[in-house]
Subunit: 331 residues, 2 copies
Amino acid sequence: MNVTDATYDILGIGNAIVDVVAATDDQFLSRHSMHKGAMALVDAMQADLIYAAMPPGQESSGGSAANTCAVAASLGARVAYIGKVADDQLGRVFRHDINAVGVHFPTEPLVAGAPTARCLILVTPDGQRTMNTFLGACVTLDPSDVHPHLVALAKVTYLEGYLFDPPAAQAAFYKAADAAHAAGRQVALSLSDAFCVDRHRAAFRKLVASHVDILFANEAEVTSLYEQNTFEAAAEMARQDVELAVLTRSEAGSLVLNGAVTLEIAAELARVVDTTGAGDAYAAGFLAGYTAGKPLSICGRMGSIAAAEVIGHYGARLATDLTGRMAAITH
Amino acid sequence: MNVTDATYDILGIGNAIVDVVAATDDQFLSRHSMHKGAMALVDAMQADLIYAAMPPGQESSGGSAANTCAVAASLGARVAYIGKVADDQLGRVFRHDINAVGVHFPTEPLVAGAPTARCLILVTPDGQRTMNTFLGACVTLDPSDVHPHLVALAKVTYLEGYLFDPPAAQAAFYKAADAAHAAGRQVALSLSDAFCVDRHRAAFRKLVASHVDILFANEAEVTSLYEQNTFEAAAEMARQDVELAVLTRSEAGSLVLNGAVTLEIAAELARVVDTTGAGDAYAAGFLAGYTAGKPLSICGRMGSIAAAEVIGHYGARLATDLTGRMAAITH
């Protein structure tokens, strides 16, 4: 990894989304034919129908890579973000929130087009979140939004798998990955969601094998990517594909595979209120440690601690200052 | 009270506001010359400056009377609301949220004018909230938005004191109060905020003495209204002025004064996370009981329980279903 002259530790690229979170019950999910725990894409009309049926909500900035960027910045990392909001109220909320934690966000908003994306999130009493995303302005993100000089300034360019859904974003992915490698930087990918992997498996397999240095995935995602029946078999395939495979398993902790080395990290104890953003926060903690040059075991612990914090409350970003706790990790 | 043929138990009239809530510290308040615990009016430019300096926030529907309406509806009351949002994203959020708890909200949005009002709320570690309100579309609420036939359908018309700030709303107040009394209904007023009382003391005194049947106020508000040094002296003046004075004193509980009768109600024990909406929720619980024909002691207990629930989490509306608990109160 080229760490000379890096202005940013992490550059995230993702769907810029405002979350609308409401508590509901399992009946609501089945009545609307939703897969619990998954993210479904909805069009404007479906979004209106679901929203009309939803209980009162709380709005806050979301987006998988954006959550990772915000949490990493809260942990002290130097972070930039590329994503497309509209020039509207929710777009300004998104920009405010990511700027307020110190993330550089240079992407111009979309003017006179679709509105800022929103994700209607139903949280059931078990803390699971079920997501319905209306992509709105996100679908206009294209390679022209990826500036190679910005990519070259970041130690790690972090891509969210959800970005494979909007049509022009795969080209933006490859442009970013090529620019990162041309500058001697690294490329990380989060698989985001098993259904998303299923929609784009061949494209993901190709990208991972050819352009990804660090892969983040949970159990469902990695087994879906490699079409394996067991986590262990999928993990071994990931080990072959990438320099660093970081695999999360909820309360069973996480696994870091780095060539011949395998690290197991126990999960932090957490009271589960809302699992939204757990994987994003794990990646943030891990990358904040990684780009600061910490050993992989500490990176994994930082990921676990960040995830546990985010699980303990509604919302996908940190509600407490963890910098002291992170600094105290010595092994 | 005329309770025949009432379609609604409560009709609320207030500033329709979306809250932007962020956790901060006392230094932030002093740096921006804010009075802790108070509501200040800010113009669009001040709102932008404060927002730019604020940490990331969570957006949710607010507004004092709207909170009361939403909580009362969640408790089973039949509720309508009059307030002015703009035809924009935050206005649609406000409408969704109040509709989702079953409140009838017939007011047409403002088109091509100021945006929906927002209240920038800073919550300090002691749970106090300090508010900065940009009134936006609210300032266009005027008597034409108050339909006398709707007022006549509600047992109690509930007015928030904050509505004295926008210029045309005092006239709307009087129109609503006159329509209520003409139909044999009752008029309730919440004083909202000691600084608001200070801005409009003479107008409040006149309204209370001539048009208000039920007065809701906390200690600071009632002493400010009557310019008394002690709560006891102010309470006695309120007793003379209105049929029912409902005075809240935070952890010291509440006092209901009804002619010769004085009721003291202990506060519910609550872990204080965010006091936003405590007074609004108290009024909601009280009025839900009152319009259901409950004895005043039960109304007061319902107010205390609703307030305790709202204090225990971020946000000014109920997060749990209290209907069973309310139904179980027998004295």
